[in-house]
Symmetry: C2
Subunit: 623 residues, 2 copies
Amino acid sequence: MQNPELGCLRYSIGAAGQRVELTPYLDAGVTNADSNWNDAFWSIHDVEHRGPGQAYVRTETNKTQFGAAFAMTTHAHVADESGKRELAQASAKSEGALAGIKFEAELSQGQTLILEKYVGICTTLQHEAEHLVKAAFAHSELAASTGWESLVVSHVDAWSQIWSQADIEITGDVASQQAIRFNIFHLNQTYRGDDARLNIGPKGFTGEKYGGASYWDTEAYCIPFYLAGHPEHVARQLLVYRFNHLEKAIENAEKLGFSDGAALYPMVTMNGEECHNEWEITFEEIHRNGAMSYAIWNYVNYTGDRDYLRTHGFAVLLGVARFWQQRVQWSENKGSYVILGVTGPNEYENNVNNNWYTNYLAAWCMRYALEVAKWLKTEHPGDWSGLTSAYSIDEPSTFKAWDTIPNLMYLPQLEGTEVRLQQDGFMDKEQLSVDDLKADQRPINQKWSWDRILRSIFIKQADVLQGLYFFWDDFSLKTHEVNYDFYEPKTVHESSLSPCVHSIIASRLDRMDDAYKHYLRTSRLDLDDYNKEVHEGLHITSMAGTWLSVVEGFGGFKVKEGKPCFNGKIPHAWQRLQFRINFRNRLLAVVVSEDGTEVNLVKGKPIEVEVNGQAVQLDTPSH
Amino acid sequence: MQNPELGCLRYSIGAAGQRVELTPYLDAGVTNADSNWNDAFWSIHDVEHRGPGQAYVRTETNKTQFGAAFAMTTHAHVADESGKRELAQASAKSEGALAGIKFEAELSQGQTLILEKYVGICTTLQHEAEHLVKAAFAHSELAASTGWESLVVSHVDAWSQIWSQADIEITGDVASQQAIRFNIFHLNQTYRGDDARLNIGPKGFTGEKYGGASYWDTEAYCIPFYLAGHPEHVARQLLVYRFNHLEKAIENAEKLGFSDGAALYPMVTMNGEECHNEWEITFEEIHRNGAMSYAIWNYVNYTGDRDYLRTHGFAVLLGVARFWQQRVQWSENKGSYVILGVTGPNEYENNVNNNWYTNYLAAWCMRYALEVAKWLKTEHPGDWSGLTSAYSIDEPSTFKAWDTIPNLMYLPQLEGTEVRLQQDGFMDKEQLSVDDLKADQRPINQKWSWDRILRSIFIKQADVLQGLYFFWDDFSLKTHEVNYDFYEPKTVHESSLSPCVHSIIASRLDRMDDAYKHYLRTSRLDLDDYNKEVHEGLHITSMAGTWLSVVEGFGGFKVKEGKPCFNGKIPHAWQRLQFRINFRNRLLAVVVSEDGTEVNLVKGKPIEVEVNGQAVQLDTPSH
């Protein structure tokens, strides 16, 4: 964890009165399980040996021409009470894609063969191609000479630093405690935040599914985790990733017939280009574009770093707002702007009209872009003038569109109620609830034909609730309650991103049994393999959602007008919940128990927070 | 044309003072242009020679294990004024997939080298596998000994018989005349009606696109052509094809969660199994199922062959009606039965609710099944009792469902008008007409992204008009006019099946300029290559639609209560239209000119017809 370009392994083997042969090797011949015709994803350039105990492989990916070098230095020795005896390599062999080094020893009672393998891993993301092997060996040799014990110390130290800020303690419920730590561990394994060219795949590095590419999960679920649990630059890197892809997003929108700098971010991407191949996802699941703007708002609201808007953020907000501005159309019939032919986050619908989540988010994107534009114009007129010329912004027509369209956006609602309707025609569906489903019919995505899923009322993840969660303060508590009661019984939670949002909302509505049930489902999804799919890899981005359900749900954490607010409530099964929050260069420690919520300043300057609606001044770091 | 298992070629070459070598061969090494990795669709078993001038190849298709043998007998001779001299083969060579026979000759002034190739083509559809080669050589040798001139006579004779009944003469407009004959020729080239295991692919045998499989085109467009232009058994074979697939259609419906004998016919098929691989087509374009019932009604209405209903037809009507009965669902909201999540014939929409065409057709299917069931019960109680037990029909609940559901079917209509709405939400689209499209934006399926096409108002083929055409007498002339005026301006006709229906309706509405415009487009589609796609093959099934636009459109032909009715009107460009109709063992000749419509009996017993609403008794064959 201390050095991302280093991987180390150590084996000890005891085998009294046996001859032992051990051959550590590097294998460049890996393929993806789901590749066509076993096609390799990279070409192998070198598979070679160097000095004693040393070998390396060098490869280059076929599509993207990333070079990678893996250099190993191995040591083996036999240890017993009297000390240790270094082994020389018995032989070295490179064959096909394998470079191996063989060690041999006769072991007697009380003797152990110990093998150490120090592998430097360098890619052309960080190094010139011609220096790759040299750099990989430099890591490998430095590690070998540093030695296993010292490396373990610095690895543990790096993790301790992470845990000191990121740990969550749940007292009284081992299953909950185990689950949240499992999730926090994996989130930190996946993303470090030191390179804006990298992002977070839904499976991280734990499985091939989704191909390591990035989805809107990053913006909608992961940003808050990295904001609160890491230094600010980590979340910022994730935003810069999208800023750097703006040009490709504009090209992507152009391919679909948009113009004048409208940007449509891809559904799935490595380098900014759309990698998904189904039209109903790439062309219609356009809500993802709104998540790009929402993440910027979230970051700025959390960190107060308005500078980011000037240098990066507004350009993205502009491209996204321009997209919506062109994607809406006026309906004479409804006397409103409508958005036809979309797929919302609830992917158990397809090609629907006026998905409430999408329409609301689109309107919000234009409003927020207008707010930031006006702020730039007033506070940073020089920047504004630069931006209007760089991005050819016609101020009057742009301001007018961003003012008019959101106010006239059609937002479907069930007449006479506070229910926001998922989409046009939702009430024509057969009005069933999940209780009407027999157990042998679930999960419906494994039991039903696709058309039957689509025309049923059952919801993969409730996107109206997702929208209400994002824009909580825009609605009354009554509205939240009514919609939760309307959608929760129809939701089968067959998206891993579903239960966490339901848990947060249930906490906010004081439905602690519901909140706890959903928390267990989201947090133990992989540990208990609820969906029978853990062989495909872990649900990394949903783990960030789990974290949200603890910190924003049970912890009641929210940032309002630059102030951290807490309103903790824990489920009956828990005695105490403790977590820490990084907030604008302070470290805050929060304890929630039956006695209430307590917030302490651990590090940083004095700050005012709000606990259960009461302002609390925190002056002195408490420990 | 006289022998479907025979193909003959003849070449003559004049080349004074030259040595000529000619090698006729059989090539078993054919592949499909669109195959993956150039995979062959069949395996080659034999490529061999036999006696002088003879060779054969034998193959077997890989998926379906159809065996095929191709046996050739070749003759070559040199002819001049003094007579002809037979050539012996110079050599014979089989190499790889090619079996060739070489002829050589020195030609002098006035001499011609004539080569004849007689190929017998036999498959395991008609022969035992072990007799294939023998049978193919029997055809080949018989043809060779019959000789070219006699074979030409019987070929021409077979075609003359076809043309004597099928020809359409258009006087005064060469482009129209050429087009209709081109279409009639190809329709007869494609389907002969002597084998109920065969059907009609949208490209016939003229291109690989659609893989030779069958679509609803057969039922919706081709049946009337074969009814009127051929003996009755030809159209009947096409119906029997679907009857034979009933069990597979029931299995297909079961896969999608239907039960109790509900049948869903495949969108695309060779042998009854679904061959298409897109869910939005196979799961949602279910209107095709209604076309199966409509074709039965069409056939019985035309031929009067009610016996077919007892032996074959009702079983299909039952399976289809059971499908619709399960596929509808009650909407509390609308107080009606609705059909959600379908794609209509207008494939520029996807996954819509309450497609008017589908809903109307589904209701009609249940009504017609009920009508036939009641007729069987009354007139053929023995058959009815056999059917109820063979197909487990619970009479009371079945009759009730087929009575209730159609009467409560939701049929979207534009309030305050006679406009039938294509689907729910249609009026929320931007209300544009094709005139608003710039020329460089067409065809939109080559210029626009798929999502943009879907959410636009533009229609590939107007399915409301298709439904109104099918069920013309259910609606007032006013309704037809209003809907034509509503939909025609929104229709881009990017389906080859679109203009023919518009042409018929325009004729019926007395809009002869429109009718003529659409006729030219449908009839000359391939000759003039309007859609720049003739390299993919000819639009065979749309050619049947063209025939409809002449006979039902300009000829005003319709069968009402067993009586042929005519109401001819021709476009200004034409002087006269003449066609013949096979009707219940009579041959009727129809002439339409500015002077009106004249109908004569050419062959068969006296009959009463209706011309322009007046009954006319035809007693004596007129020529």
